[in-house]
């Protein structure tokens, strides 16, 4: 197992390097400049600016400096727009926010979705099952950018219960709507997947054996059925994580929560190359790391997989 984890980490390094280099090339090839203003900028000033940020160097030197800076000092360089802050500071500001509501969303999606799906399977073809299936079908057509306005409309404008945006250091009233908006569609998918796999497990022979020898239903479900039924859910966690990272952009923009998602789109539009690359690399690394975690978890639960 340890050998497997080390091997996977070693593979992750070139993948990350490829990601860094290809984003850098994209940025380099992009037309437009972070220093462009409507009135135009005197050539001497522009030359000075470019020299200060090292943009006057040839391509290979620029990319070498960037990669070395990232790898050795964990330095993602300066922001070209927010002149007084560097990329690390900006990410350090926004990332805790993203992490907070992302964590809760993930937890809600997995716990609520998982229990809904398993409950539906155990009570197959009862009203509970139909309710769960109905909820998950309904939630499927409500991706976060559709759900967010609906939630604000209902809970902020009509009922006036919860604030429609802001963060305020993460007080609970400000966290609820973002978490619901972000987690719902993933909750639906997890419910659907866990229901299908639980149904399959419950009709299998060893469950019939367990019930035939008189085990109580509770024990059959928790002891024998749960673990194999959760395997497909675990393999869905990777894509769900990526989807939530992507969704955080919508959440940040719509609820003005101040996470890193809003920096991303803003920096893309402003050509703030440093911030953009920093966020892409951070999220890429997170994704790769999380996928590794999921694979290890999968191997740990599924005795058929041996590395």
């Amino acid at each position: 197992m340890i050998v497997y984890i080390i091997k996977r980490l070693l593979v992750a390094i070139p993948v990350l390097l490829i990601l860094i280099v290809s984003t850098f090339i994209l940025m380099y090839a992009a037309p437009g400049s972070p220093f462009a203003t409507e009135r135009g900028i005197p050539p001497a000033v522009l030359a000075n600016l470019q020299a200060q940020y090292g943009l006057d160097q040839p391509f290979h030197i620029q990319i070498w400096r960037y990669v070395v800076g990232v790898v050795t000092e964990f330095d993602f360089g300066p922001s070209f727009i927010y002149r007084d802050q560097d990329v690390n500071a900006l990410i350090g500001q926004g990332f805790p926010v993203t992490l907070t509501y992302g964590f809760w969303s993930f937890l809600v999606a997995v716990l609520v979705g998982g229990s809904l799906g398993i409950l539906a399977a155990v009570r197959h073809n009862t009203w509970l099952d139909y309710l769960a299936v109905g909820i998950s079908i309904g939630a499927q057509v409500l991706p976060n950018f559709v759900l967010a306005p609906i939630l604000v409309l209902t809970f902020t404008l009509w009922l006036g219960w919860l604030p429609g945006g802001g963060w305020q250091g993460g007080q609970w009233q400000f966290v609820i709507l973002p978490v619901i908006a972000l987690s719902t569609s993933f909750m639906a998918s997890i419910a659907r997947i866990s229901r299908a796999s639980m149904l399959e497990v419950l009709t299998s022979n060893y469950i019939r054996t367990a019930r035939a020898k008189g085990l109580p239903m509770r024990r059959v479900i928790f002891r024998h059925a749960l673990k194999p039924a959760l395997l497909p859910v675990i393999s869905y966690l990777g894509p769900a994580f990526v989807g939530m990272i992507t969704g955080s952009v919508v959440i940040d923009i719509y609820f003005s929560t101040g996470g890193i998602g809003q920096f991303f789109v803003a920096s893309a539009l402003n050509r703030d190359y440093g911030v953009m690359m920093g966020i892409t690399i951070l999220l890429g690394a997170l994704t790769i790391f999380f996928n590794l975690l999921v694979d290890v978890l999968y191997a740990w639960i599924d005795p058929k997989i041996r590395y």
Binding site: L19, L26, I137, P143, F145, V146, V265, A268, T287
Partner: protein
């Protein structure tokens, strides 16, 4: 003897028994599924709306109705008299015409995205699965790597770097959409590879690529069609997401995501119709695709037979 003759006559007169192909079976199963048929009807209606809409709309999607401009909340409401059946948008353009136009773009993106994924993904997966060994290993590892990248960010990068255009949107969505399909096609190919007819084809000296095109891919079609129908809605969601961020198609072109975004940002002003109309079409279309996809899966997927 009399009786025998009449039986023989009956036999001669009866139409030859028509064999039912697997496809006919699947079709019958599909049409027995009420939710799937309802979904299909909804999709046909939405398509008709997108195709016929431009000819019956009293307003053009680019023209501004100056009569309502100062007073959108009152004069811009949906009404039959003013000809703005769905109302107007914040700058006085007819929402019916805009919704028709957005529906065209969203459907187009969804279908083109799914088509790219079908063509590229199926071929890629079939080749990887059929040749196996090192080729398979390398090809699927590439897919793994591409999948572990937060694709939406790359898509946003592409749109920003190369400019926003419909073509770029297609390329960006096409780049990511085929990955899942490749995996599915590969898995299916692996099970098909051991079949006797493939062996027979190899034994008679058919070239590998001909085997893939003539024998493997036709047998993948059932699974591929099912996933393609389920891919269309997710492509529509991607595109709407991009448009919601303001990075999708450019004005005066629009799409559901852009319209929903416009409506959402105006809802404080009491102009709810700007949100509800595009949202309505978005939601029913997604429902339609999901139900048709599920129906097709039940009809075509051999696992549940």
């Amino acid at each position: 003897m009399f009786a025998t003759k009449s039986v023989a006559d009956d036999l001669a007169g009866a139409a030859p028994i028509k064999g039912r192909s697997l496809w006919a079976d699947a079709r019958a199963r599909f049409f027995r599924n009420r939710a799937a048929v309802a979904g299909l009807i909804v999709l046909m209606l939405v398509t008709a709306f997108a195709l016929i809409g431009p000819f019956i709309a009293p307003w053009n999607n680019e023209d501004i109705d100056w009569n309502v401009l100062g007073n959108i909340i009152e004069a811009g409401r949906p009404s039959l008299e003013s000809g703005h059946w769905f109302g107007t948008d914040p700058v006085g353009r007819d929402l019916f015409a805009r919704t028709v136009q957005g529906t065209q773009i969203s459907l187009l993106v969804g279908i083109v995205g799914a088509l790219i994924s079908v063509v590229v993904g199926t071929l890629y997966g079939a080749i990887a699965g059929y040749f196996g060994g090192r080729i398979d290993n390398v090809m699927m590892r590439i897919v793994d790597v591409l999948m572990s990248i937060p694709y939406m960010f790359v898509l946003i990068l592409l749109l920003v770097v190369f400019g926003r255009s419909l073509l770029m949107l297609f390329i960006g969505i096409g780049l990511i959409s085929w990955l899942d399909m490749a995996r599915i096609a590969r898995g299916q190919t692996l099970t098909l590879k051991g079949k006797a007819y493939i062996e027979a084809a190899i034994a008679t000296g058919v070239r590998p690529f001909t085997i893939i095109l003539r024998h493997i891919i036709p047998n993948l079609l059932g699974v591929v069609i099912v996933y393609a129908t389920l891919l269309v809605p997710s492509m529509i969601i991607y595109e709407s997401f991009i448009s919601f961020l303001g990075l999708g198609v450019q004005e005066p072109l629009t799409s559901w995501g852009a319209l929903i975004n416009d409506g959402a940002s105006e809802m404080n002003n009491g102009t709810l119709w700007m949100l509800t109309w595009p949202l309505f079409f978005f939601v029913i279309t997604l429902f339609g695709f999901f139900f048709v996809g599920d129906g097709l899966r039940d009809a075509l997927d051999p696992k549940d037979r």
